[in-house]
Amino acid sequence: MLVFTRKAGESLIIGDRVEVKVLSLDRDQVRIGISAPREIAVHRHEVFEEISRQNQAAVRAPIPSGDLLSRLKKTRR
């Protein structure tokens, strides 16, 4: 991993189109601004991990019981 030391207001350029800027510092929190082309998705890492966990849980879950299906069918209009 590349490691840089930056002060508030300073930034990094990744490739020639992505800028990562340290906006402000406050004890244990950093505010970061990202300027990137629209086609580059930026997400909090924990959101991606949460989706991974949910997908894995969905795969492991039991096949639905008749009870759930019948309740679902009632919901369906």
């Binding site: 997400h43 959101v47 949460e50 849980a57 969905a58 795969v59 039991p62 639905p64 019981s65 679902l72």
Partner: protein
């Protein structure tokens, strides 16, 4: 030509190679699997399953969210449309992953990260509706209004 697959959850079924849907980026948490068949049937309706053709033990239960949440709408970012070679938004099929539980009340639906399929090209991605209020774990049965405490990234 059809291929026969003995699956863990859906029994034995046959599929045609041209029906295989390719998840172009993989599915988070299942990254090594990209090729799936959409298995729909009266037996499981209104659920459907994305059955991996690479791992017969893996099937992902999914649901058309608009069957339950009438106003559900997934805005597909331009770059994802390009990735899916999707010219017309109305052609896209949108499914949400269902995490089943023995108790119906604990079953949840991931409304935040829907699966978007281009049925004519057989390409799919799981997208994230960043900035939306949809939940990753929306309870299925008590069709409670969607809300989330997730902090929304601000645009400066």
């Amino acid at each position: 030509m059809t291929t026969r697959l003995e699956t863990l959850n859906l029994g034995e079924f046959e599929f045609r190679e041209e029906d295989v849907i390719l998840f172009v980026r993989g599915i988070p948490g299942l990254e090594n699997l990209r090729r799936f068949i959409l298995a729909e049937g009266e037996r499981y309706a209104p659920l459907a399953f994305l059955q991996s053709v690479e791992n017969s033990a893996i099937s992902l239960p999914v649901l058309d969210p608009t069957l339950i949440w009438k106003d559900y709408s997934a805005e597909i970012p331009e770059e994802e449309r390009r990735r899916l070679q999707l010219e017309d938004r109305s052609e896209a099929l949108v499914f949400c992953v269902v995490t089943m539980a023995e108790e119906a009340a604990r079953t949840t639906v991931n409304l935040f990260a829907p699966l978007v399929v281009n049925p004519s090209r057989k390409l799919a991605v799981q997208i994230m509706l960043a900035g939306s209020r949809y939940r990753i774990d929306q309870p299925l049965v008590e069709s409670a209004p969607c809300s989330s405490s997730r902090e929304k990234p601000e645009k400066v």
